[in-house]
Symmetry: C2
Subunit: 307 residues, 2 copies
């Protein structure tokens, strides 16, 4: 059993598809090169767990399904599983090359991940998360989905319930103890509800950062990193007095949350994910730019929250 | 470490999609119910490894990609990875329900699997395996693929090189030793070639039974089962003197191969996969109908080859 500290890194969408890109396989593999070099380097001193988003990849699959009525469309849970295979493979390919380059011989594995949600979660009654393509009013009327009207057309919305537990947390913990680099929890995990002792997939999407925080707590990670497209969390966002936060205490950060500094659609869930981890484990959590992961792990970049 | 014997079961396409079905998620989950009950029952006395085909699922994805030019098409290796996620999830869901029903608390895991092929394999020069949709002559001319003309139109063909090694065989062996039910090698694995010490995905498809046989040898399985849509291997197939083979020796079976009893497109690779396993391990291998797996494991159904 390895004694190296465990770091869980939740990669944002920009690790795979950058602004203005359509998301070809070549683009995604190229984008992953630098982040996976970082993982390979970190793996000398840390046991690394990788989680990541799947928004554009799932969106592309939903769009393809809409365009091809000959083939039965898969429900959202199955689409999520497909993106876990797709992204897991691309990460493994890049990681394999990076480990070879770094001269590290290390086992890695992608774990298909289900995230348990509560079927009575009130958020199921209020679907807010847009998924898939835009529809005209007529197209929207023909589909059995809850829709919202946006500037660009009608769009399907689904619930985004809170993660309760990661179904595979035992397996992931065991693999981490054996010093595998584990790739998991893609897109927040495939949402399932518990029915007796077994699980059933549901049509929902789970916030990737909240699910990663849940997993990081379950496997008792020593450090939880959210790697995204901003330098960290800022207060007074978009105002002249905007200020990027460096090291802050749990209590200080909770104060900023109460004051409404972090909007629900973007920084809010990230901060909630970080706070949940620090409260649950007493360990530190940091949000940083994708390019600053090594510095952030060393305590030299990003917004770091500790007890 | 578990001491139960290890059985690797390679499931044919009929475990997921039956004749005349389009392959909705509901159909696939329903079809998996009985086979996964069998796996749950067997898991009491055996450590079980599950592999399976992905032909129709990959074909559906290729068709969707063709129908939607807005979204970048993924190459075959990535499509293979997507089917590994999709089918792995459906198998896990069914297996979870079956284990619950059987009162078995057992860990299971899907391992994304790469299959190493030789980049100098002569079969790369002679692509024969049809994949994806049918094209008109004009459509075919616009595509950068090797095509064949069939009765139903033009169709892309890719190489089907021989599997050399399963890249994840160490990981799979370790998980099997820990008594995980491991789902892997879907669609014969994602084809990769070795470049130095790292891997690169290639546009090919690998025979699922040959890849399963390679893995079964690498993990030293005690029994290798191919579960398909026929009762076993027959000699004089389609002739009045047709005879289903029961228990046969390795030498006897090799004789039938030499006499040309097993056609290249169907029973040939299955028999080759079985023979490879028996020669490589000295253990027994059996081909049987999907409905007869438990009997076949007990030595009471199918065509069984032993030394």
């Amino acid at each position: 059993m390895s004694r190296k500290p465990v770091v869980l890194i939740a990669f944002g969408g920009n690790a795979l598809i950058q602004k203005g890109q359509k998301g070809t396989a070549e683009e995604q593999l190229e984008n992953l090169r630098l982040p996976m070099r970082v993982v390979a380097n970190l793996s000398r001193d840390y046991r690394v767990v990788i989680s990541h988003g799947n928004g554009p990849q799932a969106g592309n699959l939903l769009l393809q399904q809409e365009s091809c009525r000959e083939v039965p469309a898969m429900p959202l849970d199955v689409v999520g599983a497909m993106t876990q295979g797709q992204i897991g493979y691309m990460i493994e390919s890049s990681l394999d090359a990076a480990l070879t380059e770094a001269g590290e011989d290390r086992l890695f594995i992608t774990v298909l991940t289900f995230t348990e949600v509560d079927k009575n979660d009130p958020l199921f009654k209020n679907p807010t998360k847009p998924v898939g393509p835009f529809y005209t009013e007529e197209e929207a009327a023909q589909r059995p989905y809850t829709m919202v009207k946006t500037d660009k057309g009608h769009r399907r919305v689904v619930a985004s319930p809170k993660p309760v537990a990661i179904a595979q947390h035992r397996e992931i913990k065991q693999l981490v103890e054996e010093d595998y680099i584990v790739i998991c929890c893609c897109g927040g995990g495939i949402p399932v509800v518990r029915e007796g002792r077994s699980f059933r997939g549901v049509e929902a999407v789970i916030d990737k950062d909240l699910a990663s925080s849940t997993l990081a707590q379950e496997i008792k990670a020593d450090l939880f990193v959210i790697a995204t497209d901003v330098k960290g969390a800022a207060i007074h966002w978009g105002k002249p007095e905007q200020r990027l936060l460096g090291r802050v205490s749990l209590e200080e950060m909770k104060g900023y949350v109460r004051e409404g500094h972090f909007p629900a659609g973007s920084m809010g869930p990230k901060v909630e994910a970080l706070l949940g981890f620090v409260e649950g484990t007493g360990n530190r959590a940091v949000i940083c730019h994708l390019d600053d992961i090594e510095k952030a792990v060393a305590g030299e970049a990003g917004t770091e929250i500790s007890k």
